[in-house]
Amino acid sequence: MKNNIVAGNVVETQDLTKTFGKDIAVQSLNMQVPRGTIFGFVGPSGCGKTTTVRLLTGIYKPTSGKLSVLGKNPGDFLKSDREKIGYLIQQFVLYPQLTVWENLNFAASFYGVGIFRGRHLNKLLDFVELRSDKHKLARDLSGGMKRRLSLAATLVHKPELLFLDEPTAGIDPILRRKFWDYFKVLQAEGQSLFITTQYVGEAAFCDLVGVMYGGRLLMIETPDGLRRKAYGGDVIGIRTNEEIRFEHRQQLESLPFIHGKVKIVSDQEIEVIVDDASSAVTILLGWFQAQKLTVAMMEQKSPSFDDVFIRIIETEIKND
C-alpha cells in the first residue's frame, strides 16, 4: 500500500470495508485526500462517518481493504506518526473538574509537548478565544466553549493532519461559522483537515466534499462540482414579463444544451438545467427574444447544499 500512495495525499483508501458482525458500517470506501485541503465528510447520522474516522485514526482495524494515512497503515503507527495527528472526538471528553488551562496542559503533556509551553498554550487559547476563561472549570463552560477547548486540546501538539469528528454539532450558527474560520486559518498554516459534519451547508467551506450514505461513499467533489452532479449541470433561473406557456417549455426542453424537464416556479418564472451557464445564457436570451418573450431576469441559481444533498440521496435511492 505504501508504495501505491500518490505523493501529496494525506489519506488514501482502497475498498476499505468495516463490518460489525453482519452489519456493514463502511463499504468499499475509495478516496484520496490531498495534503493541505479541508476535506468535508458529509452524511446523515449513522451513515458511517465516525467509523471511517476511527478506521483512519487506527482505533478500528478494517475488515478488508487498504488504507494509508500520512503514508502509513494506521495499525502500524509509531509514536512519531501519532504525534502528527490530531483527533477531535464528537463529545466533550476532557475533565470537568479541571480548569481550561489544566485541561490544555494535560493534553499537552500526554502528547509529549515540552515543558516550556506556556506561551504556546496561551496562543492557542487566544486562537479559540478562551484566554479570559482559562481559570474556569470545564464543567462551568458552555457547550460552545467546551467545543473550543476540545479544539485547542486537539491542536496543542501542532499536528499535520486533523481529524475533526462533527466539530460543529450542537452549537449555534454563529459559533459554527467561527469554527470554520478557525479551520481556514489552520489550513492556511499548512494543516490538512478531515472534517465530518451532518450540516450539509458546511460543505461550502470545504475544498473537497465526500458524500456518505448508508456506509457508502457516493461521491467526492468540490462544492460546485457537487451541485453540478446533483442537478446534472448549472441551474439558470428565468423570469419574463409574459406568461411562459406549455409550448414554450416543450421547445426549451428540446434544446440540446438543456437537461431534463423545465421546472415551473410560476406562470412567468422557470428554472432550467444547462451544461454550462456562462455559454447558455447568451443562447437563451436569443431564444426568448425570438419567442417574443421579454426577459425580466436571467441568472445562475446556486441551490442550497441541503437541496443538493437531498437530490443526491434521492437519486441514490432511485438507483438502488
Binding site: G58, I89, L94, L98, Y111
Partner: protein, 437 residues
C-alpha cells in the same frame, strides 16, 4: 527532546491531572484524613479494656444464706464479671432472661457439703439467651471459671474445717507419743526386740504429729490450689484494644482508599470517551499506567503520613519498630492495592460495578485478613484466599513493626511485592488490549 524526557512528560500529565482532581475536592480530602482517625478514636472509646460484666441471676433454694455465701465468694472472684441478684423462682428468672433483663441465669444445686463424701457431683445449670458464637464461648468460659472457683472455695472451706478438726487429733497424738515414750522406758533393757518395736511406733507417731502440724500450718488456699500462672508477652508491654487494632485499621483504610480511587480511574475514562483519545495519541498503555500509579502513590503516601502522624500524636499509638520499615510496608501495601484497584477498573463495565467490586473486597478483607479473626484459626485451604489479599500482608507487617518492634518480615514483604508486580503486569496487558481494541 529525548524519548526518555518525553516519557517523563507524558507520565507527569497524569500526576498533575489526578492530583488536581483530588485536591479540588476538599470534602473528600477531609473525609480521607479525618475519617480513619475518627474511626480509630471512636473504636478506642467504644471498647474499654475490660471484660463484659454479666448481669447474672442466681436461683437458690435459700436465697438469704446464698446471698451471704456470694458476698464472701465475690471477694475472691473477679466481681466485675458478675453483677448479680439472687432469686428463688427459676421460672421467673428464665422469663427475665427471655426479655434480656438478665444475661445469665445460674441455678445453684440444692445440696450441701455433706453430699461430697457420698461421692455425688452437684450440677450448676447455666442458662443464656445469646446467639453470637463468640458471646456463647465467653459465657461458657465464665461458667467454667465460676464452677472451678466454687469448687475451689468448697475445697478450701472443707480443708479449713478439717485443719480445725485435726487440732484434737494432734493433741491425742501428743498424748500417745508421751505414753509411748513412758512405755519404752519401762521395758527391760534386755528385751531389745520390744524396745525396737516401741521405738518404731514412737517414731511413726512423731512423724504423723509433725505432718499434722505442717498440714495445720498451711493456708487452705495453697493446699487446694498449689499452682498459679503468670503470663508475660515477649514485647513486654500491655496493649489496649485501640493499640492492637490500629495497624489493622490503618491497613484496611489505606487498601480501601487505594482500591476505590484506582477502580474508578480507568472505568470513568473509558466511559467518558477520553480513552478513545489516548488510543490515537502518542501515549502508550505503559506510560498511562505508570502515570496513574505514580499519581495515586504520591497522594496516598501523603495521606498515610497524615493518618499515621495523627494516630501517633493524638491517639498515642506507638510505633515500636523503625519508621523506615513502616514506610516500606505502607508503600508496598499501597502499590499492590493500586494494582487490585486498576484490575477492577479494567474489568468493570461501569463505575457502579467498580464500586461494588471494591466493597466486596473490603468485606473480604475484614473477614479474611486477620483483622478480627486470627488467621491461625482459619481452615488451611481458605488461607489461600486470605493470603491473596494485600490487607493480610499489610496487617501482618504493620503489627510486627508497630506492636512488636520488629523489622519488615521479609517473606511477607516479598509475598506482597510479588502480588503487586504480577498485578502491574496484568493491568498493563489489559490496558494495552483496551487501548488497542
Amino acid at each position: 527532546m529525548t524519548r526518555f524526557f518525553k516519557f517523563l512528560i507524558r507520565i507527569s500529565s497524569f500526576l498533575g491531572k489526578e492530583l488536581t482532581e483530588i485536591f479540588r475536592q476538599p470534602k473528600l480530602i477531609l473525609t480521607l484524613v479525618l475519617g480513619p482517625f475518627l474511626i480509630m478514636f471512636l473504636f478506642g472509646l467504644a471498647y474499654p479494656d475490660q471484660n463484659r460484666t454479666l448481669k447474672t441471676t442466681f436461683v437458690a433454694a435459700d436465697p438469704i444464706s446464698f446471698q451471704k455465701e456470694m458476698d464472701v465468694f465475690t471477694k475472691s472472684f473477679n466481681s466485675k464479671t458478675f453483677d448479680y441478684v439472687v432469686e428463688s423462682d427459676k421460672e421467673k428468672a428464665l422469663a427475665k432472661l427471655a426479655l434480656n433483663q438478665t444475661d445469665l441465669v445460674i441455678v445453684v444445686p440444692d445440696v450441701s457439703l455433706e453430699t461430697i463424701p457420698n461421692d455425688q457431683q452437684a450440677e450448676f445449670l447455666v442458662y443464656h439467651n445469646e446467639v453470637d458464637p463468640f458471646q456463647i464461648g465467653y459465657i461458657q468460659s465464665i461458667a467454667r471459671i465460676y464452677v472451678d472457683e466454687v469448687n475451689r472455695q468448697v475445697l478450701q472451706s472443707a480443708t479449713a474445717q478439717e485443719q480445725a478438726n485435726s487440732g484434737s487429733l494432734q493433741d491425742n497424738l501428743q498424748t500417745a507419743i508421751v505414753k509411748t515414750q513412758a512405755l519404752r522406758q519401762s521395758i527391760p533393757s534386755g528385751d531389745v526386740k520390744t524396745i525396737t518395736q516401741v521405738s518404731d511406733l514412737e517414731k511413726n507417731l512423731t512423724d504423723l504429729h509433725e505432718k499434722l502440724t505442717t498440714f495445720r500450718s498451711l493456708t487452705p488456699g495453697n493446699l487446694v490450689s498449689p499452682f498459679s500462672s503468670k503470663v508475660s508477652g515477649l514485647f513486654g508491654g500491655t496493649l489496649t484494644v485501640t493499640m492492637f487494632f490500629a495497624p489493622a485499621v490503618i491497613v484496611l483504610l489505606l487498601q480501601h482508599v487505594s482500591i476505590t480511587f484506582a477502580s474508578l480511574s480507568i472505568v470513568r475514562e473509558t466511559k467518558s470517551g477520553i480513552m478513545e483519545l489516548f488510543k490515537v495519541a502518542p501515549i502508550t498503555a505503559f506510560e498511562t499506567l505508570v502515570g496513574k500509579y505514580v499519581s495515586y502513590l504520591f497522594f496516598e503516601i501523603l495521606l498515610a503520613g497524615i493518618i499515621t502522624t495523627l494516630a501517633v500524636w493524638l491517639l498515642k499509638i506507638s510505633i515500636l519498630g523503625h519508621l523506615l520499615d513502616y514506610a516500606f510496608a505502607v508503600v508496598i501495601l499501597l502499590f499492590t492495592s493500586l494494582g487490585v484497584g486498576f484490575l477492577i477498573s479494567l474489568i468493570s463495565e461501569t463505575d457502579t460495578q467498580a464500586v461494588q467490586y471494591s466493597m466486596l473486597l473490603l468485606l473480604a478483607s475484614i473477614f479474611f485478613s486477620g483483622f478480627f479473626m486470627d488467621l491461625r484459626l482459619m481452615r488451611e485451604p481458605i488461607t489461600v484466599l486470605a493470603w491473596s489479599l494485600p490487607a493480610t500482608y499489610g496487617i501482618r507487617m504493620l503489627q510486627d513493626i508497630m506492636l512488636r518492634g520488629s523489622s519488615v518480615p521479609l517473606l511477607v514483604f516479598l509475598g506482597i511485592a510479588a502480588i503487586g508486580i504480577i498485578l502491574f503486569l496484568i493491568d498493563w496487558m489489559l490496558l494495552r488490549k483496551k487501548m488497542e481494541s
